[in-house]
Symmetry: C2
Subunit: 339 residues, 2 copies
C-alpha cells in the first residue's frame, strides 16, 4: 500500500494483477471488461477502478489466441512510393482507428509472388486484408478470400468484395470537356496492362468517344511513373493527338514536364489530363486537369466494408456502390492552337 502506482519500468499489468487488487478471479475481470451486464454493477465498478489504478491495457496477442480476434487489419500495397496510395493509407488508418482496429501496412513490391508470400505471412496476424495491389493472378486471391475476409480496391473478382470507382462517370465529363475544347484526336497513355482500372478506363474511352465523334487510340506506357510519362512524349508527338489522357497523374505530370522542357505548348499544342488528383497535381505549371478520386474516402470505405465482413454475418458480401469521380479542370487542358 505504498503511494505511487507507476514509477519504475515495471511490466504492464495483467488481468491477474487486476483480479488480485479487486479480490475477484481473473475470469471475472475478463467478463467485467468485455461482457456488459454479465457481472453485477458493483463488482464491475470495483474491477474497473482496479484496472484504472494499474493502468491495465489488454494484451491483444493474448486475447487473439483463444478468440481468433486480432483487432488488426492489413493494407496491402503494390508500391508505397506512389503518392496515390497516401490517400488510401490515411483513409484506411482512420477507418481502422475508428473501428478500434490497428492497421499494418505491407508492400508487395509489384511482384505477384512476393504478394502471395506476404499474404501468407501476415495471414495469422490479421482479421482481414484490404488488397490494393491490383496485380497478380486471380485464383490465389479467390482462395484467400474464402479463408479470410478480403476487400479489393480498384479491382474486381467474382465472389470477392471490392470497392471501385465509377470509371465511366469520371471519363465522360473529361471527354465532354475535351470535346468542348475542340479536340478530336485523343491519346490514352496507358498504365499496367494487368490493372483493372487501366482496362476500365480504356473501355470507357472506347465506348464514349464515338458518340462524341472523337477518335481515341492507346499509347502504351512503360511504367506508371513520372519517368514513364516523360518517356512517352516522343510517341505522343508523332501521333495525331492534340490531347492526352494519362493513366494517372504521375504519368501526366511526367509528360507535362517533359513537354514544357521541350518547349511544347501546354495546352496550346498538347492538352494533358490525368487521374487521381494526387498531391502535387495542382502545383505544376500549368496546373493539371485531372479526374479526382476520393481516395481517402475509398480507403475508409474499404476498411468499413472489411470490418462489416469480419463482424457481420459470414458469406454475405456487403453491397457497395462505386465511388464517384470528379473532373477537376485546371490549366493543362484547353483549345488546341489552330495551325
Amino acid at each position: 500500500m505504498t503511494g505511487p502506482v507507476s514509477d519504475e519500468p515495471q511490466p504492464p499489468a495483467t488481468i491477474y494483477d487486476v483480479a488480485r487488487l479487486a479480490r475477484v478471479s481473473p475470469s471475472t475481470v475478463s467478463r467485467a471488461l468485455n461482457k456488459p451486464g454479465r457481472i453485477s454493477a458493483q463488482t464491475e465498478r470495483k474491477i474497473r477502478a482496479a484496472a484504472e489504478r494499474l493502468e491495465f491495457e489488454i494484451n491483444p496477442m493474448a486475447r487473439a489466441l483463444p478468440t481468433g480476434r486480432r483487432m488488426t487489419l492489413a493494407l496491402m500495397l503494390a508500391d508505397i512510393t506512389n503518392p496515390v496510395v497516401f490517400g488510401l493509407i490515411r483513409g484506411a488508418e482512420r477507418g481502422a482507428a475508428a473501428a478500434g482496429y490497428t492497421l499494418i501496412i505491407a508492400e508487395s513490391q509489384e511482384s505477384g509472388e512476393a504478394e502471395l508470400r506476404m499474404l501468407r505471412k501476415i495471414q495469422a496476424s490479421v482479421d482481414g486484408i484490404v488488397l490494393a495491389t491490383a496485380r497478380g493472378p486471380a485464383e490465389p486471391i479467390r482462395q484467400f478470400a474464402r479463408a479470410k475476409p478480403i476487400v479489393l480496391v480498384n479491382r474486381v473478382e467474382p465472389a470477392v468484395a471490392s470497392i471501385i470507382p465509377d470509371v465511366p462517370g469520371g471519363v465522360a465529363p473529361l471527354l465532354d470537356h475535351l470535346r468542348a475544347c475542340g479536340h478530336a484526336n485523343v491519346a490514352y497513355l496507358s498504365g499496367p496492362a494487368a490493372s483493372w482500372v487501366n482496362s476500365e478506363r480504356w473501355a470507357a474511352l472506347v465506348r464514349l468517344a464515338p458518340p462524341l465523334r472523337m477518335s481515341v487510340f492507346e499509347i502504351p506506357g512503360r511504367a506508371p511513373t513520372m519517368a514513364g510519362g516523360a518517356e512517352a512524349l516522343e510517341r505522343v508527338m508523332l501521333s495525331p493527338a492534340t490531347a492526352v489522357i494519362a493513366f494517372n497523374d504521375l504519368m501526366a505530370i511526367g509528360l507535362l514536364r517533359q513537354a514544357r522542357q521541350e518547349k511544347i505548348a501546354v495546352p496550346g499544342r498538347l492538352s494533358i489530363a490525368g487521374f487521381d488528383n494526387i498531391f502535387g497535381a495542382e502545383l505544376t505549371t500549368p496546373a493539371l486537369t485531372t479526374v479526382a478520386a476520393p481516395l481517402e474516402d475509398a480507403g475508409a470505405r474499404a476498411v468499413e466494408a472489411l470490418v462489416a465482413l469480419i463482424e457481420g454475418s459470414p458469406a454475405r458480401l456487403p453491397e457497395m456502390s462505386p465511388f464517384e469521380l470528379r473532373l477537376i479542370v485546371r490549366d493543362s487542358t484547353g483549345p488546341p492552337a489552330v495551325g
Copy 2:
C-alpha cells in the same frame, strides 16, 4: 494420404499438425525451426518437409505470448497528412521488412494526450517504437523509453536514442547561397514552437547569420501547412525581408503560391526556400529551393537502431551520427531585384 494438400478454406496449419505429420512431438518441431543444431539434421529435414507440405506459417501471436518477441514495430506519426512522413514510412517499412519485422502505423493526431493513449495501447503489441511525433511532454516519453525500446526522430531527449539531422550543416549552405545572391534580410517563417527541429533551425540561423553580415528575424507561422504558409505572406511583405526560409516545404509552397497569386515576383521581389524536399517541391513554378533531408534513409536508420536496441545488449544507446542535409538550389531563390 489423399492427394491435394490444400483446397478448402481449411484453417492454417499449426506445429501440432506438422508434428503429427512428421511423427515427432510439437516441441521438437519448434526447436527444429528455431534452434539450429539442437535437432539432428535428419529429423530437421523431415520436419521441414512436413512444414512445407502443410504450408505451415508460424503464428506470431502464439509465439509472442511466451517469448515476448512480437517481431512488430510501431511507427508513430503526428499527422499522416503531411507529405514529409511518406519518406519516413517508406524507409521504416523497408527497414522493418529487411529485419524481418512487421510495421504498424499509428497516428497521434498532433495531440500529446492522444499520443500517450496510443502509446499505451500499442505497447503490448510491439517490440519497439519509432516516435516521429516531436510534440508532447518529455517525461512520459522518458518513462516509456525505460520500459521499451524507443527511437526518436527529429527530437532529442537525454537517455533516449534519437536520429536527427545535422541542422547547421543544412542551414549554412542555404544562408551562404542567399548571401551570395545578395540578400541581407532574411525571415524565418517558423513552425510549431514545440518542435525540436524548429528551434534548432532558428538557433542555427541566429548563430550563422551574423558572421555573414545578415539579419534574421522570426515570423511565427500559424500552422506547418500550405495554408499556414499562404497566410504568412502578408506579414512577410510588411517586413524588410527579401528572402524567406520556411520551416518546411509545405509552408514554403503555400507562401510561394500565394505570392504568385498576388503577382509578387519570386524570386525577384521575394526569394523563398523550404526544408525537406517533399514530393511536389520541384513541381512548383518556380521550382522550390529547399534543403533536402534523406527521410527514407532516416526512417530506415531509425528502424535499424531500434532493432539494434531490441536485439542487442540492453541499455546501450546505439551511437548515431546525424544525417546529412543537402541544399537543392532551384528557381525560387535568386538575386533580389534592385529597386
